[in-house]
Symmetry: C2
Subunit: 133 residues, 2 copies
């Protein structure tokens, strides 16, 4: 199987498959023509990577998860710790974004949104520093 087929089978672009190889995440054999060659097991790894990426794991974590997956003697505690740490990071980020959205939405509610120049949004952005930072 060439890289194009592996891309279609895994849902990861050929571009990214090469990149993942360059950074040591996955590997591939080479045919006589120097084309990368993929077996079903390689496609399974690529799909694993995609699923982990879909859950927002950074590639560094994906690498660790992949190593754990390959290692039959792993302790599930290690996987769980990685997962829960990532859950915490995701929730922190989501909370931070929601807080920004809420602040901004409140500001926007007080803005007339008409042809006049008066705008509490700009006034707030121009305002003095808020001490809770």
């Amino acid at each position: 199987m060439n890289i194009g087929d592996a891309a279609r089978a895994s849902g990861i672009s050929a571009k990214m498959i090469r990149h993942y190889e360059a950074i040591g995440l996955i590997s591939a054999g080479r045919g006589a023509n120097q084309y990368r060659v993929y077996a079903q097991a390689d496609v399974a790894e690529l799909r694993f990577v995609r699923h982990a990426r879909d859950l927002g794991f950074p590639l560094q974590d994906v690498k660790r998860l992949l190593d754990l997956w390959r290692n039959r003697a792993r302790a599930s505690a290690e996987v769980k710790r990685l997962a829960l740490d990532h859950v915490a990071a995701l929730e922190a980020k989501a909370k931070s974004l929601s807080a920004m959205a809420e602040s901004l939405r409140h500001l926007a509610e007080h803005c007339q949104g008409d042809a006049r120049p008066e705008c509490p949004i700009l006034e707030e952005l121009a305002g003095k520093d808020h001490c809770h930072g």
Copy 2:
């Protein structure tokens, strides 16, 4: 006022102030020694930028907001539209991250997290594609 003072007064690193100048976001005068010179009005602009960044606006939006702020003939409708678009983007991103966190948390709940290798998290990541994509 030199760049270091402007940095302390605005809460933006000197590094970033130079960068903002390079991309045309803000500007600065120059002294006889080629050092950048900042007045209070410049610091006010830098603070404006920081507040907008704190609300998660990308620099491209910050530039537009800054232009609106400088323009006394602006229509607040334009500011409001920018703000509400950004609120929508923030909420979409937050929702996406929360969904990831929830999925992963559910998976982790089913993982024993002990010394044994069995792990539903890895099994899920290794699993076949889910059709809702």
